[in-house]
Amino acid sequence: MAITQAMCTSFKVELLSGGHNFNTTNVARSADTADVFKIAMYTSSATLGSTTTAYSVTNEVSGTGYTAGGNTLTISQVPTSSSTTAFLDFADTTWSSATITANGALIYNSTNSNTAVAVLAFGGDKTSTNGDFSIIFPSADASNAIIRIA
């Protein structure tokens, strides 16, 4: 059992198939509405990595202040580009007044059948006890943004 950080391979394929929409304007398909992306957290018993294809409740974190399925992410930077790199970013997310222990997380598209986007490995157990548990995403630029295509 291990959580290995990765951009899920299925996500890459689905991107090329138009399976994920992060933007609110000039959307090629249907209405100008971005898909809903969520982040769920998992215990060290979970097996997650590049081959993960969808959200699962198996070994998902449970505890005070955490609801199955995780938090809905806010797209803080809609898809844009700088030089030759396209990127987007999410706003930081926090579970408040939470008593939980997590070893990693999965970003997934709840609009598109909960398909996986990326796995975040925390590098060990992280715990909050009657406190705040925050995942802080990097700066929204071509060198650091959470999702970049170069």
């Binding site: 951009m7 006890t129 925050s134 970049r148």
Partner: protein, 90 residues
């Protein structure tokens, strides 16, 4: 090519929330990023400016906390729980 290098942080607290100083540090990382490859002189100036911005953020975050406690104290008073106001350390 999709980049797999994902850089993020996980911050947790126990028995408390985040302090203005901790939140200011996070906000600062969003406001400005100083490249490790920047010219040393420019980098130095940017770091000084970053430090100044951090102090401003901390000052106003603390003020926001204090202001919210004032609001909470008034709500407690209006609800007849004046004895609980001292917990807020106003």
């Amino acid at each position: 090519m999709i980049l797999d290098g994902i850089d993020f942080k996980v911050n947790t607290t126990s028995g408390r929330g985040f302090t203005p100083e901790e939140l200011a540090e996070r906000a600062l990382d969003k406001i400005m990023y100083v490249s490790k490859d920047a010219n040393p002189l420019i980098r130095e100036q940017a770091e000084v400016f970053k430090g100044h911005i951090k102090e401003v953020l901390i000052k106003y975050l603390k003020q926001a906390v204090q202001s919210d406690r004032t609001t909470l104290a008034n709500k407690l008073r209006e609800a007849g729980h004046s004895d609980l106001i001292k917990i807020l350390e106003i």
